[in-house]
């Protein structure tokens, strides 16, 4: 049963390296995501979050390093992994001339097993919009549809790249609710974000990434506590303070 033990990790990677010309995007990065947890990659734009998650998603090949997802390797088990993963890419647009229903039907067709289209519509609360063209949806509705497409195969592991960037507060909360329900059903989530509050609300553990490498790792509470007493007495510490302390920069402006 050694394999069982190995697959207690949803994701593990060791020494990932990816370079574009002279620019090092990911620099000997290692991390593990346990089954059932929500793991956040937190960092400024250009920190290497997207390159890292796309390597883990099997969309980019690393120059060096090992990746194991659900205990399987991309080179040997791509077809099986694609069936078991849900992926939401950053800034992906779905076909604007298709309806919500048609879009979900298309993605559902790729999977051997998973929720019905009806159930997917319920999960992301888009039942009322099922006949609308994707082009007519609001930003928040599109993002939920995009998550529903990622959920179409009933995945064990969900990858989300900046799922709430650009959304208004209400839409962000609706999306968080979708993720909470996915996790309550036993799902594992790996997401990237540059919103501190999002990481604090959703994530069990957070890796702070800068210049392509992990500079801090732990639960949001531990990371905040590691700063010692909050420097400003009037408000309690946040991940923003952690990032400031580690890099001397604001997260959003970095």
């Amino acid at each position: 049963m050694t394999e069982r033990i190995a697959t207690d990790l949803a994701v593990s990677c060791e020494g990932l390296h990816k370079q574009y010309g002279d620019v090092v995007a990911v620099d000997r990065l290692s991390l593990t995501v346990r089954r059932g947890e929500c793991f956040g990659l937190l960092g400024p734009n250009g920190a290497g979050k997207t390159t890292t998650i796309e390597i883990l998603e099997g969309l980019l090949a690393p120059d060096a390093g090992d990746v194991s997802v659900l205990g399987l390797g991309w080179r040997t088990h791509e077809r099986e992994l694609r069936q078991r993963l849900g992926i939401q890419l950053q800034e992906t647009q779905l076909n604007e001339k298709l309806t919500v229903d048609e879009t979900l039907r298309l993605f559902r067709a790729f999977y051997h097993d998973g929720p019905t289209v009806e159930a997917l519509l319920d999960m992301v609360e888009l039942g009322a919009k099922r006949g609308s063209w994707v082009g007519k949806l609001s930003g928040g509705q599109r993002q939920r549809l995009s998550v529903a497409c990622a959920l179409a195969g009933g995945p064990d592991l969900l990858f989300l790249d900046e799922p709430t960037t650009g959304l208004d507060p209400q839409s962000r909360r609706q999306l968080w609710e979708v993720l909470r329900r996915f996790r309550a059903a036993g799902g594992t989530v790996l997401l990237t974000t540059h919103y501190m509050d999002e990481a604090e609300v959703l994530c069990d553990r957070v890796a702070i990434v800068d210049s392509g490498t992990v500079i801090a790792l732990g639960t949001p509470r531990d990371l905040i506590a590691s700063l010692g007493a909050p420097r400003v007495v009037t408000h309690h510490g946040t991940l923003e303070d952690v990032f400031m302390a580690l890099t001397g920069r604001h997260l959003r402006e970095a």
């Binding site: 790729f110 999977y111 097993d113 063209w133 009933g154």
Partner: protein
């Protein structure tokens, strides 16, 4: 949570991908215009610019001087001759622009100025010469009995419409596939699809299937227009037309996938498409026969897929050729379909 093994209410991925492409196309009104309306407008415009020979009048230029008055009276009275005022300094312009086929100067005997390189000018010279000599009292030894023959199937419009059908199949296949794929690449729809378990060949095959489904109306609309509006006869069988059209659709779909396999921008794909299509627009005999080009070019021209498609269509529609009769063209089209498709699968960039 409702969960289902199997596809949870969805159909086979190949069918869903094909439906997605069809829906995208139908919901794009511009695409419908270029596919169905444009070929009809073009056929009508061209047919009116090149009417059958007997019905087109001859335009003769005369200076508006008193010396020309007698000539004017004579010529204006002849059916089929239309006299236009052309002053001495305008003669060359009027001939070049095709405003008149011939200029008559009131010398004795008259002088004809015309371009012997133009059929219309040569015809005009014969008609005018005949009219003026008769008016001067020439006695004809006999007058032949004329039987006007206008055989549907041998007019320019009959020859033109299969050319337009071929051009349309090329244009909609290449533009349609090229633009939709490059747009999907730009908007990272392709990247999202390959992040799912979709099989890449299913996506490419679905694009071809969707194209093939649209071929039927694309070919049928201009052909039916030819039959209904011009009485164009269809000599060959409908089955043979279907086979030729399908082969043409396959060839240009394969080529469309190939040209769309790499470009990342609309500007990029537009350039490649023009580069690929321009030689065929000019050389493949859409508007005038490809045999007008020099012999040295013929091997190249005959190897082009549009030449093969148009030749096969004309063979079937105008001459009643069977599938076996156009087998050479069909083989060439099949090669044009399979080789680019195989290359496209290898070269295709999804991200």
């Amino acid at each position: 949570m409702k969960h289902s093994r199997g596809r949870g209410g969805a159909r086979h991925p190949l069918i869903e991908l094909t439906l997605a492409r069809l829906r995208e196309f139908i919901r794009e009104p511009e695409a419908l215009f270029w596919t169905f309306i444009f070929p009809i407008v073009l056929s009508m415009a061209l047919a009116s610019a090149f009417p059958g020979g007997a019905t087109s009048p001859v335009f003769v230029g005369l200076a508006a001087s008193p010396a020309s008055a007698g000539l004017r009276q004579t010529l204006a009275a002849v059916p089929g001759i239309i006299v236009r005022d052309v002053e001495l300094d305008e003669e060359l312009d009027a001939l070049r622009e095709g405003e008149v086929h011939l200029v008559v100067r009131p010398t004795d005997p008259p002088t004809y100025r015309f371009d012997p390189g133009r059929d219309g000018s040569r015809t005009a010279r014969l008609i005018v010469d005949d009219a003026l000599k008769r008016a001067s009292g020439r006695a004809d030894p006999w007058t032949a009995r004329d039987q006007a023959v206008e055989i549907p199937g041998s007019r320019y419009v009959d020859w033109l419409i299969p050319g337009i059908v071929g051009m349309n199949i090329m244009g909609t296949s290449l533009w349609g596939l090229g633009f939709s794929i490059v747009q999907a690449r730009m908007r990272k729809i392709l990247k999202r699809l390959v992040a799912s378990p979709m099989r890449k060949w299913e996506y490419l095959m679905a694009q071809i299937l969707a194209r093939m489904l649209f071929l039927a109306p694309e070919a049928a609309v201009p052909l039916l227009f030819g039959v209904l509006a011009f009485g164009m006869p269809i000599q060959g069988s409908v089955a043979a037309i279907v086979v030729v059209t399908a082969a043409g659709g396959l060839a240009f779909s394969g080529l469309g996938l190939l040209v769309a396999s790499r470009p990342r921008t609309i500007e990029g794909i537009s350039g490649v498409l023009n580069f690929v299509m321009l030689p065929m627009w000019i050389l493949s005999g859409i508007f005038f026969s490809a045999s007008n080009f020099p012999d040295a070019l013929q091997p190249f021209i005959q190897a082009l897929p549009l030449t093969a498609l148009i030749d096969a269509l004309r063979g079937v529609v105008l001459e009643g050729a069977t599938v076996a009769g156009v087998a050479g063209e069909l083989v060439l089209l099949a090669v044009w379909g399979v080789v680019p498709f195989a290359l496209a699968i290898r070269l295709f960039k999804w991200k």
